[in-house]
Symmetry: C2
Subunit: 258 residues, 2 copies
């Protein structure tokens, strides 16, 4: 795709995200309707659903021949990844959204023939938009982000999801001990944005395609490694244990994972 066309798409998506943020903030002032999905720790709200519909409507209008993969199921059932595929997470970190009204993100990704082209993580309450892709570079709002320092595990903070730490899956308690400190923020989007800006040097969690779709594109653009927790390639339709990390941190973590 030529740079002009790409920038036009980029501006269009940023417009959707600005409007979607206002929509979410307005809905937050009303009473939330919260339901459980797979368990009491897996929530969905009327805002997750309404915001996914809001975004999918705009994508359909802009790009009617695309496939859309949305967390809440208003998109398409996708079994193959040729052509344009949009990945939408209307509210990433729904538990934080419900309990904190903070620390959640709206995310959009565009893949073409399985290749990541554009990714967006919108930190709603901080009003910080992380955006870009391999052809554009990565931006926090208007500011271009440099590649984060390639720090090893011991030299940085690591984000690990609560369940992985608590159950010591993949020896995550050892990974945490060997790091400079473990953090848990409860949103893949927020944690990956912290890796992009160098505040964490890794993040490990069980993720679904909408949780990592945008972050994978942005992280790889900055030279970060995005794989399964045991270092295998991560397909864009996979649900798996995912590790996003600096190259050095990944090299330190893989032998611990076993």
């Amino acid at each position: 795709m030529d740079q002009g066309q790409l920038q036009e798409i980029d501006q269009t998506v940023k417009g959707w995200l600005r409007d979607s943020r206002k929509f979410v903030l307005t809905k937050m002032a009303e009473k939330l309707n919260v339901a459980e999905k797979s368990s009491r720790k897996d929530l969905v709200t009327n805002v997750d659903k309404a915001n996914e519909q809001f975004l999918i409507e705009r994508i359909r209008q802009f790009s009617p021949d695309s496939q859309i993969l949305g967390e809440e199921g208003f998109g398409d059932k996708i079994t193959e990844t040729s052509g344009w595929v949009w990945v939408v997470d209307p509210i990433d970190g729904t538990m934080n959204f419900v309990k904190q009204q903070d620390h959640f993100a709206t995310m959009i990704a565009l893949y073409i023939d399985g290749q990541g082209v554009l990714g967006y993580i919108n930190d709603i309450m901080n009003d910080d938009l992380y955006s870009g892709g391999p052809q554009l570079g990565v931006f926090k709002n208007e500011q271009r982000l440099p590649a984060p320092a390639n720090l090893g595990l011991a030299d940085g903070l690591i984000g690990i999801s609560g369940p992985l730490i608590l159950r010591n899956q993949f020896n995550m308690q050892i990974v945490a001990e060997k790091s400079a400190g473990v953090r848990a923020y409860g949103s893949a989007g927020i944690e990956i944005s912290h890796i992009l800006s160098g505040k964490l040097n890794g993040y490990i969690s069980y993720l679904k395609p909408w949780d990592f779709g945008a972050g994978k594109i942005l992280a790889e653009t900055l030279g970060l490694s995005v794989t399964t927790v045991d270092g295998k390639p991560l397909g864009m339709l996979s649900s798996d244990f995912v590790m996003v990390a600096t190259e050095k941190a990944q090299r330190d973590i893989l032998p611990i994972v076993g």
Copy 2:
């Protein structure tokens, strides 16, 4: 103390904190000098030290007969708590300060004859000041904070420090599992500020007097419980495992701690 005198002190301390914040932001633009204290995970920087000196100088000038307890040792050696005692933490969350340049706080507390009178948690990067005490109420910047909802353990998110989760001290892994989710932000000041604003319903960590001095005053003013992890009273000069929580969350956690 009458309300007028208290408000005058309050305005004075807020002035110090505004100036101190600018001082810290200026120093952050220069090269940090980082040293280890008790371990590689216990850091101090030139900014911690300079900011403590900055604040202690102002306290001495304003209130020369007070005792001052400062994390970095520029205050007094305090063995008894009669009279005015100021507690100063120049940078709470030094690891975050060093690795993230975010998620840290400057804290000041005033105790008179062992009673908490005024507390301040200044979230530097968000420019949010939590302030107040039993006579004034609690404020986030200019806005008065209501008492947080009295939610039980299962109905809210809980902050637990990394080491306590990793080593399952006091059955913290069970506490985390029973909560709606565990979070770890790496700064007592930031985590207690999240309890004040209802984003967490509890926080458990090993803390020193400067880590909880301000937060204890603010939390108790809002009807929250601040005790040792096993529910005993917490002396203002103690170093101990501390639990800050809603009353209901505390009641749910105590039997798990054993």
